[in-house]
Symmetry: C2
Subunit: 358 residues, 2 copies
Amino acid sequence: MRPGLNSVIPLCYGLCAKHESLGERVVAIHLPFFTDQAFVTLATNDVYCQGALVLGQSLKNHRITRKLVILITSQVSSLLRDVLYKVFDEVIEVNLEDSADYVHLALLKRPELGVTFTKLHCWTLTHYSKCVFMDADTLVLCNIDELFDREELSAAPDSGWPDCFNSGVFVFRPSLETHSLLMQHAVKCGSFDGADQGLLNSFFSNWATSDIRKHLPFLYNLSSSTIYTYRPAFNKFGSDAKVVHFLGPAKPWHYKYNRQTGSVISESLTSESQHHVSFLDLWWKIYDESIVPFFDKLQHVAELESQEQTVSKLLSIQQKVKEPSAEDERRKWEEGRVDYMGKDAFARIQEKLDRFLQ
Amino acid sequence: MRPGLNSVIPLCYGLCAKHESLGERVVAIHLPFFTDQAFVTLATNDVYCQGALVLGQSLKNHRITRKLVILITSQVSSLLRDVLYKVFDEVIEVNLEDSADYVHLALLKRPELGVTFTKLHCWTLTHYSKCVFMDADTLVLCNIDELFDREELSAAPDSGWPDCFNSGVFVFRPSLETHSLLMQHAVKCGSFDGADQGLLNSFFSNWATSDIRKHLPFLYNLSSSTIYTYRPAFNKFGSDAKVVHFLGPAKPWHYKYNRQTGSVISESLTSESQHHVSFLDLWWKIYDESIVPFFDKLQHVAELESQEQTVSKLLSIQQKVKEPSAEDERRKWEEGRVDYMGKDAFARIQEKLDRFLQ
């Protein structure tokens, strides 16, 4: 089925606006918008919602021409749901309770498969003909709409074991039949890594050997750790990165951000990891510029500023060191204890980002 | 050109002998031998020759049906050359001095390209129609003759940057024209990583996107470090490994080996890395069982035993901590200072290896 040409979107005045400027005049370009295709992500708690929000905003900044969808679970607080609606076209709560009996039985034996089953729900989005799934810890660096030219299941190699694909970014076709087969496969075979990546790789087991077009270039799912594992390759190809994936335990939201310098703060970030820092800074710049105002509008800032020191120029996300339990997290967010603190001039941040984007 | 069926080889009574046994009777199988195809490796000093010898022997143990060729440089001592002739069908000294003027000019500017240029010499082996190149720090775990069904340039992904192939194992077609183009490319563009891998990847630049058949399964070039980077995948697929590649600074010859227990000795080898240890043990088992006797026959053992304590059951390779300069190395080897020490019963080693191979 050929995607429909259903509407146009206005020019997005985000990071790409300069590409459309002719001298001083900004030209609006009418792009086709494919309402039957979507970028899809997932957040199972309020902390991961921060990642999903930045991912969604980074996609919008690069004028995507597809819908933006997020799957969430019941752990996500009402505050976060309100903010998600500002960025995403659809916010869909996934209830494992609605699943078939055999899924419930499987979860009794293997509760760790819960998040995996949740992710598999993306195949039920059958009002879309094709989708690109992206993990909430990815960040888009340019327009990537060309991914919709690929077929299911297209994904980039995993740097840990390159005959497996990394399930942080993949192209798929929603289908209730595929969903059912995947769920049955999960129940029958489990997952060799206890997560969705192992399951999807054993289900789409001929990915490594069957069709080169289903191998997305690594630049569409650049693990930030590869900056260190083969630095000469990063130096050669890294400037063409399209999606960075913050794999591993240190996520962008675990850092603090200095709004005046436009840089994250961490003792472990040495000069060796300048490229990694640039990606972290970019994440925080989007968070600070585009996501924080949504919280402001929901009028939690005034309340917060009275509790916190407004002098500080540091921005951080609550519970940044240890990932809290879903219960703790909901409680704290519902109490409005989020430590972003007022607004600052972004002159230096902008300057730094402009250098990065050139 | 179709490979010829020129001769037969007798049954190799190595590690694979059990596959040919029918009850108690051992059956000799006549296999076709392709004299116009070869496995090729490279050693630029005596230490790497140890690796090449074990690699060559591991190929022979698995009844390869192709020739065995090693390229060496002038730094390799006469003792080692004598031993190499016991394992390899051809020992070919490569002299960069024979290269064209533009190569000499390039080396004046970029002397580090010397080893890269040496490796490129494999394309000049035009008395073979097709070859498989293997680095001297690889070890073969089973027969891999099916690699000759692949075309140039077939290689496995590099785990550091999986859109690059790892140049430790690759299929190629010797051709003076390709050799010349590669040398010109090296002189003109250099190598993005200062070594052959960067050069070969920029020359065969469509490897990642053009033909899935040129993607060798990762199991043909399993970096020993991936045991740690994505352990669940190693646990799932690692038992099918065909070639292990001892990437990184810690090579098998840097360890000491206890001949009584059949195990390498190292304080840094914890229980976490048992799989890695198994590969190291296998390397040393081959070295001790098949390579040491060649040195013995060259009558250097008697001389050595008088200098060293014969009580010790430890086997090690001289200069194991710090890689010596080529000059130091030649001098020490030429003085016969190699510390392998007499013979021992291999009952326990054999038992351990049998368990490994099952």
